[in-house]
Symmetry: C2
Subunit: 342 residues, 2 copies
């Protein structure tokens, strides 16, 4: 598999991106990397790391999109950005997929523009895998679409359902909709309308889910608009960090606690691994014609490596084609049910 990596995207780019690329080729024999971005900086970084050059190549791009840029302006004005050039490699068949830890709104808009959406998909969505008390679940949309219509949420549910089957191996995923309470009457206009569509869809819809139940592991796929998804994802990350720090501080205040802490350390390490978002690497953009993995802006080299691995698996299993055909069937079924009811 050949994966294009936006070398310039993310808070610690290009250094950690390139480190992640080097770790990838050393860990996985079947993945080659094309680093996309400013050739001089990339080459300097590669040279300093004394990397054997054979499985890592460079594609120059003269522009970098900043995190504070408006997507529409960046798309219009930066035709030679590392995001766009990486996406073009996928479009032209020179790469099997691309990974970016850059501005996720711009990555989404670029993929939409260059690769296009699958049939019956109006808006692509980010599907993030998150840990729980039991097994992990799929959160969709984790931040691509800040304005959604009820039909978008139906499409997200269908895509998330298929993704969960393929990637997490659940035969009949339980799908839930984020709202302010479990009851049908709870929520805002968007969720109440989406509830009706999801209820009629050919999925195992379990109804609304309240924030407090998101991490119980009772739902396999959790659907929401991208604003809410971004808030859920980031609040959880921030809170998990804060709780671990608070716990450490409590322990440091007690001598017995300090000994206890040392004895508990292997358990804490295991725990941290389970809740460590770096382990999951990146989240795919579902609904586009191609493989595009969006990584966290704060990605470490390990996260970049894992994101590249996700991209490679995604491309190898042709997941986007499976999703395209599932959603076409799902929407067709939905239309049939609607017509039959009339």
């Amino acid at each position: 598999m050949r994966i294009a990596l936006d070398a310039m995207g993310g808070d610690y780019a290009p250094a950690v991106n390139i480190e992640g690329a080097i770790e990838t080729v050393s860990d996985f024999e079947d993945i080659d990397i094309i680093l996309v971005g400013d050739e001089l900086s990339i080459r300097a970084e590669l040279d300093s790391k004394r990397c054997p050059p054979n499985r890592i190549s460079i594609r120059h791009a003269s522009q970098t999109v900043r995190m504070d840029e408006s997507p529409s302006v960046a798309i219009r004005k930066k035709k030679d950005s590392s995001i766009r050039r990486a996406c073009e490699l996928v479009k032209n068949g020179e790469a099997d997929g691309f990974v970016s830890a850059g501005h996720s709104g711009v990555v989404m808009a670029t993929a939409l523009l260059l690769l296009g959406t699958s049939n019956c998909v109006d808006r692509p969505a980010i599907a993030a895998i998150m840990p729980t008390l039991k097994a992990p679940f799929v959160l969709i949309d984790a931040g691509a679409n800040l304005h959604c219509k009820p039909e978008n949420l139906l499409q997200f549910a269908l895509m998330g359902n298929t993704y969960c089957r393929v990637i997490l191996g659940r035969s009949e995923p339980k799908v839930a909709l984020v709202s302010t309470g479990e009851e049908d009457t709870k929520g805002n206009e968007l969720t109440r309308e989406a509830f009706k569509l999801l209820k009629e869809a050919d999925i195992n819809f379990m109804g609304n889910i309240d924030g407090k139940d998101i991490f119980t592991g009772n739902a396999d796929v959790i659907v929401c608009d991208g604003f809410t998804g971004n808030v859920v994802l980031k609040t959880s990350e921030g809170l998990a960090d804060a709780l671990i720090k608070m716990l450490k501080r409590e322990v440091a205040n007690l001598t017995a606690g300090r000994i206890g802490y040392l004895l508990m350390k292997p358990a804490l390490r295991n725990f941290k691994k389970k809740t460590d978002y770096d382990e999951y690497g990146g989240a795919p953009l579902l609904g586009i014609n191609g493989t595009c993995i969006i990584s966290h802006g704060r990605s470490t080299a390990k996260a970049i490596k894992n994101a590249i691995k996700v991209a490679s698996d995604f491309a190898e299993n042709k997941v986007y084609e499976i999703i395209a055909s599932a959603i076409e069937k799902g929407i067709a079924n939905h239309e049939r049910i609607k017509v039959a009811k009339k």
Copy 2:
């Protein structure tokens, strides 16, 4: 202080509500309670607890609002609900404030209808106090308004700012707006418009806050619409629960870990207390003419007791009057700035 308690609201009502009332009168000499709801059930519960009757009285209400009812229907059809009767006691001056763990949408609508909003306030908002790595912060709106306009968020910011000064004693609270990134350009239409208003307001506005930074303790007041606030509040509760359970399970898998766990137990207990929402009791509805405290549906007796204490403090310090005058000044200032700019 006389506080009216909706005896029928919440998942474990009326038993825990009445237990909470009994604990309150035994812990606080200056708080009397009026239990509002079905007289027969309340009396049976009180009798079983052999409570000295002198500081707890009963006001009968024949109806109870269920959690799955639509607020508009409940308001129209249940004129003798425990929520409405409790609110009426405040309106008539028979109680200094009221507490309910029932349907928060109905509590909000009833308070709005019977007590009315302060001048310059279009919609009241729930202000929840939440723990962080440093000091606690105020989250506003924590769930009252699922549809908001930018002007509502400005009013929430002004109310939250004053509440934070009065209750948390911060002289110049740092106010932040929940969005999908720190940059001005991030977020949806609502947050982008609200950003402009907050920037011009007479508060210490620090800009957008991303979910990952909510629990760092850098902001004193965090502003959002009620749908987002409900999701932040409940997701945090659920995740804190899940993380503690995951940690315990990791520890149970190791013998050394188990000993460590025993040694760490006092630290864990302290930690749990800091992150225990029961400690905070209830959240006030800001912007109405009176004292109304909304408690969690899953309130325990301890949470009910703490909510009653919050109501009593709120009423004693006339917090709602302080907020009413602050927001009037804040909005007037804002209008002046707007006019001056034109």
